[in-house]
Symmetry: C2
Subunit: 403 residues, 2 copies
């Protein structure tokens, strides 16, 4: 039974309304950095707005580690109801039970990525677990899910997949590629791999190469997952077990790194869960912050695939523009870039600190390329890219209008 | 066969020489904050220097989460060879294969805690796994190790145990109590519980209450251990399994929080382990920092008990002087203190930041109590308390001499 079309008037102003993720199979194998070619590759995607006759108004939005193709609007299917689980964002989602896209505050009529003007495309990245081919997909060589036999992919592989997907859609040029965190890495990678096909990039709370502490956090998360016996060497699909304990720990580490210490203090302090005294327990959460982390872990493991976490985490630690494209020099790596570049960072983001964006800005400026860098003074750490929509919006709208 | 006595002349200048941990059984049960009384309680300890006839030269040194009673000198037994596994300290220990005590740079003739003048006593804390009664000890009620049935202890319980131990030793007053991190918490707790028996305290890289992010890191570490099926509800002793995977992850989290991001960058950068390119692997360490963390985890799980980690971590998150003793007010909690107080913090320590020590200083000063606070500008984060011996030494020597 086809559900009735929901009229746009039932949605709040600025909403793209009800949306459904679509799927597209790429006609050719995707050539990967590791030397393999992956086939078949399916891409999950959503679009918002209308493609112009000249096909010159396309903005590709790229998601971060735990995102999916449902970037804006209200999901028709319940499977898409939990993508907004950042700090604060989780509350809004929980309160509304709305199935809102993860960047709904940024995409829609009159928003930062204005669907009255642009045709916004969001895909689930290569290796994902929300419709695009990834470790949980069937390996045609065996007839069983790839599991840990999935090829070890890179950010460049994700971008090549997005390029192939847009080819099928008949989109040659992009007005912009935008994303936060790992999404921003994809935007930067686009500007280097396909300089003639990208007019502008917007890289938010991102970096040209994760710093060693960030590499360490990701290694810990992956070790937590792979150290869980239920991971079973990566072949847990179809068994009655999955590495939920390890994934939960990985997610907890992630959450703390996405937030700032002052934000945790403002929100939770040292408040106890029960009355005003301790209960002398090692197994039960005692502080509110402990309970919050467990809740975040429990809800995450229900919706996300552990192997996708592993492969995506590995890709973002590998990402290093200077090593990949510049023989160690960031400036040399950025030489091909012709896109106008907007960088946004947040003062309290210690996982993707403003200093990394500053290095990109300096290198682009030294090369005489158009670049704008804005640091937003905000307290919520890395999660700001999902939360500080009101302050990012005018910056992005003006930048896009300048083209 | 009794090993030959090693002559002091074979040790470097300033060393207390060869030492052996001793053990003492307390005659009475220890009354705990949770309401239980623990008996029997054995305490592992070492002493350095000579007790004065007036018994007025005793300094109690308290260790941090992963320490033991072997604070100084060269251990006679191989079981004590790996207590110095901090950043940098690990190298020195590894290079020397020496069995050096964890604070050897601070304790000895002419050192910060000068054994020519003081009788320095170090114990393994209550709940420990290096000789003092803890979760791996036999529960007299069952004849089997306590495991997770060990009572949930507090820092105050640790201090009461130290008090009872010193009673047996015939030591009533302490010239000083000193320690870093959890050791500093014990020093502060001593000054509040036994104000008439402590002349001075030295609390280094410590706090009156861990901030919420620190609570979160500890919760993650405990979840990693308890989520490991090999933990078996805390009763893994005598089985052929122990929660090494979970403990490894816990230790990795600890290591990253003990260090600063700039220190990790200086030491490891983004250097790859093999040649100058990636190998496309999710299971093997690829960056030097990843390999370092695995090595630290592997060596830690061989020497440390997971349940001790759980109970000690819980105690240090519970520690909150304002809640315990001041009805929410730190100033009221510190009212009983009569000891002179020296606080030392390190500029790059984000786990026990200088701001926490500053709050203690302000509260003591407002109460008109003698307090000195020194912030040492050093890059290695929380681990500085184990590493910056040369810069702590003159501060501590002068402070102790002023009594």
């Amino acid at each position: 039974m086809i559900p009735p079309m929901v009229s746009a008037s039932t949605f709040p102003a600025g909403s793209v309304g009800s949306v459904e993720t679509q799927y597209l199979d790429l006609p050719e194998p995707v050539r990967l950095d590791c030397g393999q070619a992956l086939h078949p590759v399916r891409v999950a995607y959503e679009t918002y707005g209308t493609l112009s006759p000249a096909r010159d108004n396309v903005i590709l939005v790229c998601h971060a580690l735990s995102g999916d193709a449902h970037a804006a609007g209200f999901a028709k299917t319940p499977a898409q109801t939990s993508t907004r689980d950042g700090f604060g964002a989780a509350d809004r989602d929980g309160a509304a039970g709305s199935g809102l896209g993860w960047w709904d505050g940024m995409i829609g009529p009159g928003k930062a990525f204005d669907t009255d003007r642009y045709f916004v495309v969001a895909t689930n990245l290569l290796g994902g677990c929300s419709g695009t081919t990834g470790p949980s997909s069937i390996d045609p060589a065996t007839g069983r899910p790839y599991g840990s036999d999935f090829p070890v992919i890179t950010v460049a592989d994700m971008v090549r997949t997005e390029r192939a997907f847009l080819d099928v859609l008949g989109v040659e040029r992009l007005a912009a590629v935008a994303g936060g965190s790992l999404g921003g890495m994809q935007a930067l990678q686009w500007a280097i791999l396909f300089p003639d096909q990208v007019d502008a990039i917007v890289a938010i709370a991102s970096t040209h190469a994760l710093h060693p502490q960030g590499v360490a956090w990701n290694a810990i998360a992956r070790n937590a997952i792979m150290g869980d016996p239920a991971w079973q060497g990566g072949h847990y699909y179809g068994t009655d077990r999955a590495p939920h304990a390890g994934m939960g720990v990985a997610r907890m580490v992630g959450h703390v790194t996405y937030l700032s210490a002052p934000a945790l203090n403002d929100r939770f302090g040292r408040r106890l869960q029960f009355a005003d005294d301790i209960r002398h327990t090692i197994t039960e959460p005692e502080f509110e912050v402990e309970s919050y982390l467990r809740h975040q872990a429990d809800s995450f493991v229900k919706r996300f695939d552990a192997n996708t976490y592993l492969f995506t985490s590995r890709a973002l630690t590998y990402f290093d523009l200077a090593r990949q494209h510049g023989g160690g020099s960031l400036a040399r790596a950025l030489e091909p870039v012709s896109a106008r570049t907007l960088l946004i960072a947040f003062s309290s983001d210690w996982l993707y600190p403003p200093s990394a964006s500053r290095e990109i800005e300096d290198a682009l400026r030294a090369l005489g390329k158009p670049v704008e860098f804005q640091v937003i003074d905000a307290p919520y750490g890395h999660d700001c890219f999902l939360l500080e929509e009101a302050r990012q919006t005018p910056i992005i709208r003006r930048f896009l209008a300048e083209r």
